[in-house]
Symmetry: C2
Subunit: 135 residues, 2 copies
DNA sequence: CTGCATCCATATCGATACTG
DNA sequence: CAGTATCGATATGGATGCAG
C-alpha cells in the first residue's frame, strides 16, 4: 500500500489532476469515491461479503433501505462489475446477488478507511466539541 | 492494514452494525465515508497536503469549486480537526489553511482507495461495456 | 481578501402503488 | 418474489451580491 509520507510531489499532482479534470464523469477515481460515498453501497458490499443473498434477504438485513434504493445500488454495483446477479427460473422467481472478485477486492481499501475512522473517532469527536465551544 | 480475506465474520457484522444503526448521524464511520464522498473534500485535502495555502490560492488550484463550496468544505474539515485555520492580521486580511496531523493521516487510507481505483479502472470500464452491451 | 446570505436549479431519496 | 413507475419532500450545489 502506498505510504502518504513517502508519496512524491509529482504523484500527488497527478492524482489530483486525475481527480478534478473536465467534468469528472469518466474519472475512475472520482467514480469510486462517489460509490463509496453513496449511502448504501458500502453496506450492501459488506452484507454480500458474508454470503450471496437474494433481493429480499438483503432488504431484511439492511432494514432502513427502501426497495428503490436497494435496486438502484445493486444495479450500479452490477454495472461496475462488483456484484453478480443470477436469476433462478423458479416460481415465484428468485434472484441471487453475490460479490465478484472485483467486489471482494474493493473491500480491502474500504476496510482501511473504516479502520481509520474507528481509530480516530475520538479525535474527531474531541475536535468537534472544541470547534463548537469556540464557534 | 486489515486483510479482508482474513476478516472474521464477527468483525464484519460489527462493522456493519456500526454502519447502519439508528439514524447514523453520529456514526464516525458513516461520517468519514460521507466526507470522502463529498465532491471536494478529497481534492482540498490533497491540495493542502502539498502546502498550506490561503483561501484564494486553493480556489485557483481547484478551478471548478465555487467560493461557497470551498468555504463549506474547509469549515467541515476544520470542524473535524483535519484542517487548521490561521488568520493573519494584515490588511487586507489573509487566512492560511493547513493540514493537521489528523488530516495528514487520513490521506493514507484515502490513498489506498485511489490506488485501488487506478489499479482496477480497466476492469470497471470493461464491466460497463459488457453491461451496456446486454442491457 | 475572505467569507456570509440569498435565491434558484437540479439531484437525491423515500413512500406508494402497480406488474410479471 | 423481484422489481418498475411515479410523485413529492428534502438536500445539494452554483451564481450572485454584499460586508468586514
Amino acid at each position: 500500500m502506498r505510504d502518504t509520507g513517502t508519496m512524491s510531489r509529482l504523484d500527488r499532482l497527478k492524482m489530483q489532476r486525475e481527480l478534478h479534470v473536465a467534468g469528472l464523469e469518466n474519472c475512475p477515481v472520482r467514480n469510486l469515491l462517489d460509490h463509496v460515498a453513496s449511502k448504501w453501497t458500502t453496506l450492501v458490499l459488506m452484507e454480500l461479503s458474508q454470503a450471496p443473498q437474494r433481493f429480499n434477504a438483503l432488504g431484511r438485513a439492511l432494514p432502513d433501505i427502501s426497495k428503490r434504493m436497494l435496486t438502484q445500488t445493486l444495479r450500479d454495483l452490477e454495472r461496475d462489475g462488483m456484484v453478480a446477479r443470477r436469476v433462478f427460473d423458479t416460481k415465484p422467481p428468485s434472484v441471487e446477488y453475490s460479490l465478484t472478485p472485483l467486489g471482494q477486492s474493493v473491500l480491502q481499501p474500504i476496510g482501511a478507511l473504516i479502520d481509520w475512522a474507528n481509530l480516530h473517532a475520538e479525535d474527531i469527536r474531541a475536535a468537534r466539541v472544541q470547534f463548537e465551544a469556540l464557534g
